[in-house]
Subunit: 641 residues, 2 copies
């Protein structure tokens, strides 16, 4: 279906979907551990002292690095993402104590908020003189954005309106302050986030003004005269004295509709594109969608790790050159893959399209969830695809953005499974779950998925409308699963005739008890990277379904770069990994080079080769057992033939 049709797919509110199985275990880990850990560690970092007007301000706890801004400047966002996580977690597993702690923080924010709606603990309690002086670097609107998201989540999960009301007052201040009207500031935030938050706020409140402000921020970004130039001059700073050299870093180098190349800080880029996609959906804005489609092709065709990790460089926490994807030094921040999931999901707002859903799933299962340990207690910030044994999850970080980001994604994963339009339900993800859907505001349909996905490809979906009703059900057929077979109430469906853009579309009258069964083949696939990715030259990786696999030292002993694959995927065998949630390992025959000399360099006839078997495990589960080396791209000498 072409751009610009009237279909608008929106995600379900988190409370409408209950997941079990694979994602249920992740959610339980967050409910049982992560949610409380996040709050405890925020408290330990002294965040509450910053927002509580009844105690002295802690002042500058983390020294300010002027050229970067500072971690402390966006503590409100860390707390907000933690509260968002708690909202979803306590909905799944009631935890009155934790909810009471969140209520207490919300009360603190209520006391802190100024009469005009302003709310930002750093600028109120530590540097009042910096208020509204540097939108480029200071994350002021970014913090509002995360607090809005948290408020929406807290309202949806608990029914309590206080936080939502606080943040509506804050958003009203922004509506008044920013825009093109007389006396308004024609500005926007250096770190995008407020835009997508305003869309969420508009959807839950029904208030158009929030949507319009999101659209204004997007429309205004990168226009000339440049707001960040003018803001710098107004505040006595030289615009050319900017550590990131140019505005590509925050995607304000061009008006957004003219952008075709994904540049700069990865999380910022993804949050911007997410909001652009939302606005494109809500306003049927084809000009945004055209830019987004080009940006999507640019990212996924030239700048993405096979894990869905993005942003290879630590220097700008972002993008570098095309096809520059170093494995051992990959930054690939957890937040960036989380944000890619956000964007992909929102690209599905105008129609189901496997281009977006496939990558959403790939980033979710590999780039994002890797950031959380199985026990929910430790975290990866950066996600390399090769480790010499020194890269491990940490307990906390001076910039603790990733832990609550992956935790809120895990606990809200239910809302990523379906896209709902007035006359159509799209199934983007397969996951053991039940969902309550309201079509066109009045037709109740519940969905129940039974599956052991991603370990098994068998999925059964039972559709139960309150009353028999007609709508289209669009089932994603992964691009790697073209041999998927589909049955409706036991009868085979001619999938290839009904499939468009990677979705099998069944339009009919649905009755209670109707069941669709998919059998998605999960055969191991040997993958190569484009020959322009020099870091992967001569190497292959292994995938099964949406999962990227890797070698770990604990299964294969050290020096993983001495392992050479020489036989194709048809020689693969699967096995369940003990003590790892029923995860599936893949064993492949392999060779291992063995030095017959201690010399550092030698003429080439001194290398011997021995037969071995290489055990691959899902990348996202690495570093959950005995710590050691890890490798995704493995040397190839025949496996790819």
């Amino acid at each position: 279906m072409p751009i610009g049709t009237s279909r608008q797919f929106r995600p379900l509110p988190v409370p409408n979907v209950k997941v079990g199985g694979y994602w249920g275990e992740w959610q339980d880990a967050v409910c049982d551990s992560t949610a409380e850990i996040l709050l405890d560690r925020c408290v330990k970092a002294r965040m509450l002292e910053q927002i509580d007007v009844n105690v002295p301000s802690p002042g500058i706890v983390i020294p300010i690095i002027h050229w970067l801004g500072t971690a402390q400047m966006f503590w409100d966002s860390d707390l907000a993402k933690s509260i968002e996580t708690i909202a979803y977690a306590t909905y799944r597993k009631p935890n009155p104590e934790l909810e009471a702690r969140a209520d207490e923080i919300i009360d603190m924010y209520e006391r802190l908020q100024e009469p005009d709606g302003y709310l930002n603990s750093f600028f109120q309690r530590i540097k009042p003189e910096w208020k509204w002086t540097n939108l480029r670097d200071f994350h002021e609107l970014y913090c509002s954005g995360h607090m809005i998201e948290a408020a929406v989540a807290y309202f949806q999960a608990t029914g309590k309106r206080k936080f939502l009301d606080i943040m509506c007052r804050n958003a009203d201040l922004l509506v008044a302050r920013f825009g093109r009207g007389p006396g308004q500031v024609r500005g926007y935030c250096g770190h995008e986030e407020i835009e997508l938050a305003l869309v969420r706020l508009a959807r839950v409140t029904g208030e158009r003004k929030y949507l319009d402000l999101a659209k204004y921020f997007i429309d205004e970004r990168g226009t000339q005269p440049h707001f960040f130039d003018e803001e710098s001059l107004r505040n006595g700073r030289d615009p050319s004295d900017y550590v990131f050299k140019n505005y590509e870093y925050n995607q304000s180098h061009l008006p957004v509709r003219e952008q075709r190349k994904v540049v700069g800080h990865a999380v910022r880029a993804m949050y911007l594109y997410s909001a652009m996609a939302d606005v494109a959906t809500e306003y049927h804005d084809d000009s945004l969608t055209q830019a987004l489609e080009a940006l999507w092709a640019d990212l996924t065709g030239k700048q993405m790790y096979i894990t869905g990790g993005i942003g290879p460089s630590m220097n700008n926490e972002g993008f570098t050159d095309y096809y520059d994807l170093p494995n051992d030094s990959a930054y690939a921040e957890t937040c960036a893959s989380v944000a890619l999931v956000f964007w992909a999901n929102r690209m599905l707002g105008r129609k189901p399209d496997g281009r977006y859903a496939d990558i959403m799933e790939q980033a979710l299962y590999n780039g994002a969830i890797t950031g959380l340990s199985c026990d929910g207690k430790t975290f990866f910030y950066d996600n390399p695809l090769e480790s010499t044994g020194k890269h491990h999850r940490w307990v906390w970080h001076s910039c603790p953005c990733c832990p609550p980001n992956i935790a809120r994604l895990v606990t809200s994963i239910g809302s990523y499974i379906y896209g709902v339009a007035d006359e159509e339900v799209a199934v983007h993800l397969y996951a053991e779950s039940t969902a309550d859907i309201l079509l066109a505001g009045n037709r109740k349909v519940s969905f129940s998925q039974k599956t052991n996905y991603p370990w098994s490809g068998a999925v059964s979906i039972e559709v139960t409308p309150e009353n028999a009703t007609t709508f289209a059900l669009s089932l994603r057929i992964p691009s790697w699963g073209k041999a998927t077979s589909v049955k409706l109430n036991g009868d085979a469906v001619q999938a290839d005739q009904l499939t468009e853009d990677g979705y099998l579309r069944i339009e009919r009258e649905w009755k209670a008890g109707d069941t669709v069964a998919l059998d998605i083949p999960l055969v191991p696939r040997i993958m190569k990277a484009n020959t322009q990715v020099r870091q992967d030259a001569g190497r292959v990786s292994l995938m099964r379904g949406p999962l990227v696999y890797c070698l770990e030292g604990t299964d294969n002993s050290d020096n993983l770069n001495a392992v050479v694959l020489h036989q194709g995927a048809s020689h693969a065998a699967t096995a369940v990994i003990p003590d790892l949630r029923g995860a599936i390992a893949i064993d492949l025959p392999a060779l291992r080079e063995v030095a017959t000399s201690d010399e550092l360099y030698y003429e080439s006839d001194l290398v011997a080769v021995e037969q071995t078997s290489a055990r691959f495990v899902p990348y996202h589960l690495w570093d959950n057992r005995y710590p050691g080396e890890m490798l995704v791209w493995v040397r190839d000498n025949g496996a790819s033939k």
Copy 2:
């Protein structure tokens, strides 16, 4: 011959050797361009203003980075190395104008020197209050060291004593100040250099006190209580607040005789070991030699690039983990390979040994000389073994240590060719040259080498004693050249019976006209790295004689990582590269992978392969023609069989 015998091999003074051929061309480039460029760029950097008491001090030109010290702090060393270069260059090609400029600088230093001998323009003209407050970080003795080296060179090359006298007064101040006597400071410099300089000063002046001070600095280093701890406390600094965490950075973590692992800043380490080797030679100190032999094995067996580049990390400009040798991000500073040549040369002080001479040659022809362009006008600071096309020589650097370091090595290369003991002459390097040697202080022998080495392996050495005389001639047989044939006056010599430690030793009475002819086979060799070097896994490099080869984009088009070698060195053909000083290229049949898909990742059956020929050129000559990609370690699929 075991450690501790009485043989002591010393290098010839630079003026005693005149080189032509390959090295003559490099020396001409320095004489014609580099020597003057160095001085011009030092002037442009405002260095002369800092030393000239007749003009106002420029103050802090380059902002001081406290935790690192600053480039400006060691400007005296940059000027000194430039004057050392000028000394050698004007000896080869008289340049009265340039010599006059050097004389003028020496006059400035004479005016600047304090009555007690103190001389350091930074501490005299910019920060007098910092004098003698921080030997750990401030390079104070380091600068004296380079100025002493320059003074020795200037005296040897021009016969003028003024600079030497200045620096003897400075050295006398150090002799008085540092030591274990009453009232003396038990300190040493954080950046080693003064030690090897004092040995040179002792050798040219015959003054034992300078040698003894060098030995003191070496003996004292790393002993407890630790000098840098005590110095920090004395000057109000917390010793634990050291950016490099521990004293491995400057090799003072242990007494030097207990050191077995090469650690820290690479240039510092090499300068220390160089001085240790000198002192071991001069004092017949077996305990130093034992430590040095272990350190040598550690460096060359686990931490050295095949180019003789050392110190892979930019963070500490030095060493990291064993077998950690990344190619694209290799720091491998030019200065570090220059300093490895220094160390290797000094390891030959106690006996000829191919272990040291082979690496000296390898570092010289690959790690070091690569730092200078063929025209002598631009420089590499870091020397990666892979480039995506963005790494190029620069005109100048805020820390301009490398340009004068490689320039002084090039112009003094003659002194590395021979090692001279009382009854023996060792030929360490083969190079078109003539040399005047004085054996045991009274027997004159001249040597004339005729060769087109390193392009050809044919070498003819004519030995011309003033009067027929008996001594041993030790000829290096490179470890890669075991099939070398040797003839004495036309008759074959049974090389294998006379060869020990990689040197063929001919002891006889030598008469005028005696000629030794060597034929060293220069066949291309396919090299592999130890399987523990993960970055080189599945790859090979190509060497011919001492030269490491590489692929350049200009010869092979882009995307060098798509090139796969599949045939052995016996398929290699050689050719002369146009416009590159008669350098020899090597052509090998190869395959090139070609993508049949634009996708970033695909299942493995989409890659095609085409036949091609790969042109290899000497690594040290890369980036002298059309700029582009470069690659040393090339993918292997059969070439190493």
